[in-house]
């Protein structure tokens, strides 16, 4: 093994600190141990729980099929870590290699992994956000509060935002036979992530299942009664609606505030890192001892012109954590790039939606198998004449074929015939993504240009 002395020491007796004790943090810790790190490992998490899985929260947990506190993640192996749970990191001193914590203690590190993830974007009006009956859904505590309230049988639930989370919540409400209204600023549900053509199918699903779907409107205000309980919502079209529960599903914001002034290239779009998961500092120079993984990272992707991508994806968190951990304890020539092709799923209204690639970069879409009207189909997305993404509704077994087309930059429209090609699959149509200068409800993939210190908050797909 051609390890120099200092790396060998790090692997044997160094101190690695992981900030963020969720999926990415846990998988990174396991990988570190798997690959022979025997030093001290400290896991810091702001929630008082050991790592748990979040996707079930908006599905089986909210449905009441499984208890809210029972989604702890299985361990792949023992990690022998010092856990600092329920204590947020508050600052990073890169010169002193020290993380300050909310309880006024601090932890020194030899190598640091930042996996602080994202949190729900709160309702912007703080007073209204504080009303009893206004919820967000990101953590197990959020889910506990919401499931308790849904169980009580509110007369109507308002879901603000029809991205994936909002749509899944609406689906659960209908399955619980609760009246639900969904307000979406864009022209259709899921439009930011999958475009208008697929958005129409998503809208049809909602209508079919009895959702009162209102697109092209914003919720302009939430009223409470004298006791501070939510009573009514106001819409931008002048309408009002009596509601007892409102769930704010307006996307997520990155947990990077604690890094302000640290000198890292961290901002609202995340923390920039190289393909090897090393963080950039504000000068655009990579750090040797600070690594990033999961939802909070933005890293360049070779399939998409080396633009920086931020991915709020379960699979990305796992894959990037594994690469980051490997690279943290490996010499330069053995480091690996993080080349994960974006993969995503959502379950709503009894339909399994999966996507691969980056749909929201696309200009065109072609329904290559099945039919939109049957809600079972596979569609490919094209960008400047090549396949950039695909989505399936209940046709997941075909998706990996399209993944290979993306990875080999196959031409779009796909120049061949397939099984189950219908007339609608004969020619591509505009994919129907909303004007990128108008923010939608948080596409889960964000492409943010070439500069590591780019702090733009508008989405530009080119």
């Amino acid at each position: 093994m051609a390890l120099d002395g200092s790396l060998e020491r790090l692997r044997r007796e160094g101190h690695i600190v992981v900030v963020g004790a969720s999926l990415a943090g846990l998988r990174a810790a396991e990988t570190l141990r798997e690959e022979g790190f025997t030093g001290t490992l400290t896991m810091i998490g702001d929630e008082p729980y050991e790592p748990y899985d979040r996707p079930p929260l908006s599905k089986q947990v909210l449905l009441g099929l499984v208890p809210v506190d029972q989604t702890a993640l299985p361990r792949r192996r023992a990690i022998d870590a010092r856990w600092r749970l329920g204590v947020a990191a508050t600052a990073l001193d890169m010169a002193a290699k020290r993380v300050a914590l909310a309880d006024d203690t601090s932890v020194e590190y030899d190598r640091l992994l930042i996996a602080t993830g994202v949190r729900s974007r709160p309702w912007p009006n703080e007073l209204e956000a504080g009303l009893d009956g206004v919820f967000v859904l990101r953590t197990t505590d959020d889910a506990a509060r919401l499931v308790h309230r849904l169980r009580a049988g509110p007369r109507r639930v308002l879901v603000i935002g029809a991205g994936f989370t909002g749509s899944e919540i609406a689906s659960v409400c209908r399955e619980r036979e609760l009246p639900v209204t969904v307000a979406e600023r864009g022209p259709a549900p899921l439009v930011g992530a999958l475009g208008g053509v697929i958005g129409e199918v998503a809208a049809e699903l909602q209508h079919q299942h009895g959702v009162d779907l209102r697109c092209g409107v914003m919720v302009t205000g939430l009223d409470g009664d004298g006791a501070g309980r939510l009573r009514r919502a106001h819409f931008s079209d002048g309408d009002t609606l009596d509601v007892e529960v409102a769930v704010v599903a307006l996307g997520a914001t990155r947990n990077t505030e604690w890094l302000a002034g640290s000198g890292l290239a961290a901002g609202p779009r995340g923390i920039a890192c190289d393909a090897g998961c090393r963080a950039f500092d504000v000068r655009g120079i990579v750090c040797d001892d600070v690594f990033v993984a999961g939802d909070v990272a933005r890293s360049p992707h070779p399939l998409f012109g080396y633009q920086f991508l931020s991915l709020e994806h379960w699979g990305n968190a796992v894959a990037q954590a594994e690469v980051a951990a490997h690279n943290m304890i490996s010499p330069g020539e053995r480091r690996r790039p993080h080349l994960w092709t974006p993969y995503f799923w959502s379950a709503q209204f009894g339909v399994n939606i999966k996507s691969v690639g980056v749909p929201n970069m696309a200009d065109q879409i072609l329904v290559s198998q099945g039919s939109l009207s049957e809600h079972r189909f596979t569609a490919a997305y094209g960008y400047q004449g090549r396949v950039i993404a695909a989505v399936t509704f209940d046709q997941a077994k075909w998706l990996e074929f399209y993944q290979r087309q993306i990875e080999r930059a196959a031409p779009f429209p796909l120049p061949f015939t397939t099984v189950d090609r219908r007339t609608e699959g004969m020619r591509p149509v505009p994919a129907g993504f909303p004007d990128p200068s108008v923010p939608s409800h948080g596409p889960e993939v964000t492409v943010s240009g070439h500069s590591p210190t780019d702090q733009r908050v508008t989405f530009t797909p080119a």
Partner: protein, 412 residues
């Protein structure tokens, strides 16, 4: 372009006991045209890729007439069953079967058969008492799955014997033809006869169940309504039930027999299983990799040119995928020719992959797990009497015709 003359050798009964060296030779050219016409695909990733490729059709009607060696024996009087169709027809029929067979509508149909499965296994093994040798195929592997499938479908026990006979004959249709032209003709007629009798019997049963439904699959299919698509017609039911019957019959026989043969050839694995009964779950998967019940997936058709494995398969070509070879591909499985009962990451092709994956696989798994567990537990000092055993003619559904096993006694 190069071609090989290996398909003839693979189909040759003389090579049935050990086709694996032929597969290894085949893998030297992952995708290659055989002199007899079809393209053979023998390496793991290429097979995997084609099983998930929407340019590959399973619809028998897309097949050039001269390529229909296996398909030629199908019943011309019935519509193709779901395994010989593409989406959307395939998907519709498979969904209709799933409604009465599995999740989400009938999630416990197979699970709830565990008790019966274990009862049938015990009953068959009890009959080994007082002997010192059995033919596993005749005494166990053959009668077991057909009894299970009768229960699943709803064939009354008193009809099982008749049913068994037709099923045996109809199942031989899946073999590539062999013998003199006269023998082939006689075989075809025997198959047609059995098919007609089976169809007549099933029609009667379907009608009975339509009038007085019970908790079985035939009742489910016969009374299906209220879905968002048209229910199966009678000819569709007959075609698909026949397929389910053959598939549930002929493949499970091979899994169990191949499993026992493999265990008796690997005494360490057998000992390990005795000491750790949980090992049965990954072990059955390794049997499915090591000696898969379906060796070849013949007669799929390319709907367009497909570039793969360094060549272009032209549109309209007949494809023969060789999953049994993919399962031994060293590029995918470390030490592929070793039987490792707890092999990690065992994503084998024992049940295929993609939309045509074996619909009976959960049932086959339960059957194989129950059978091998009990055989290993109860047979005292089991040993092979003859190795290799005699094999059935069929190269597609490959397995021993007889498997003589000697033993010292039967435990309780």
């Amino acid at each position: 372009m190069t071609s090989v003359a290996l398909l003839g050798q693979i189909l040759d009964h003389a090579n049935r006991a050990d086709p694996y060296p032929l597969y290894a030779e085949l893998r030297r050219t992952p995708v290659v045209r055989d002199e007899s016409g079809p393209y053979l695909v023998s390496t793991y990733w290429e097979i995997h890729s084609l099983l998930h490729d929407p340019r590959v059709s399973s619809d028998v009607r897309n097949l050039a007439p001269e390529a229909r060696t296996v398909a030629g024996t199908y019943d011309p009087d019935l519509p193709p069953s779901f395994i010989r169709l593409d989406p959307p027809d395939h998907d519709r029929l498979r969904r209709l079967i799933m409604r009465t067979y599995g999740p989400p509508h009938t999630p416990r149909r197979v699970y709830d058969l565990r008790g019966e499965i274990s009862g049938i296994v015990s009953g068959l093994i009890d009959r080994f008492q007082g002997r010192d040798r059995i033919d596993l195929v005749e005494d166990f592997s053959y009668p077991f799955p057909v009894t299970v499938i009768c229960r699943l479908l709803g064939v009354p026990p008193e009809d099982e014997q008749r049913f068994h006979g037709w099923a045996d004959t109809v199942a031989t249709a899946i073999e590539p033809p062999s013998g003199t032209p006269e023998e082939q003709q006689a075989h075809r007629e025997a198959v047609r006869d059995a098919r007609h009798q089976l169809a007549a019997y099933l029609s009667g049963l379907i009608e009975q169940r339509r009038r007085a439904p019970r908790d079985d699959m035939i009742s489910g299919l016969a009374t299906e309504h209220g879905t968002d698509e048209s229910p199966m017609s009678l000819p569709e039911m007959l075609s698909n039930l026949t397929t389910l019957l053959i598939a549930g019959h002929e493949t499970t026989v091979n899994i169990i027999t191949n499993g026992m043969l493999t265990l008796l050839r690997h005494p360490d694995a057998l000992k390990q299983l005795r000491e750790d009964p949980d090992l049965i779950f990954p072990l059955v998967e390794e049997v499915l990799r090591f000696e898969p019940p379906v060796q070849l997936l013949p007669e799929r058709t390319t709907l367009d040119d497909i570039e793969i494995g360094g060549i272009t398969i032209p549109k309209g070509a007949s494809l023969w995928l060789v999953p049994a070879s993919g399962n031994r591909d060293p590029q995918r499985f470390p030490e592929p020719d070793r039987f490792l009962p707890d092999r990690p990451d065992n994503q084998h092709f024992g049940f295929g992959s993609g939309i045509h994956n074996c619909i009976g696989s959960p049932l086959a798994r339960l059957e194989a797990q129950a059978a091998l567990t009990e055989l290993v537990r109860r047979l005292d000092n089991p040993r092979l009497v003859e190795d290799p055993p005699p094999y059935r003619r069929n190269a597609v559904l490959r397995g021993p015709r007889h498997l003589a096993i000697g033993y010292d006694g039967i435990k309780r």
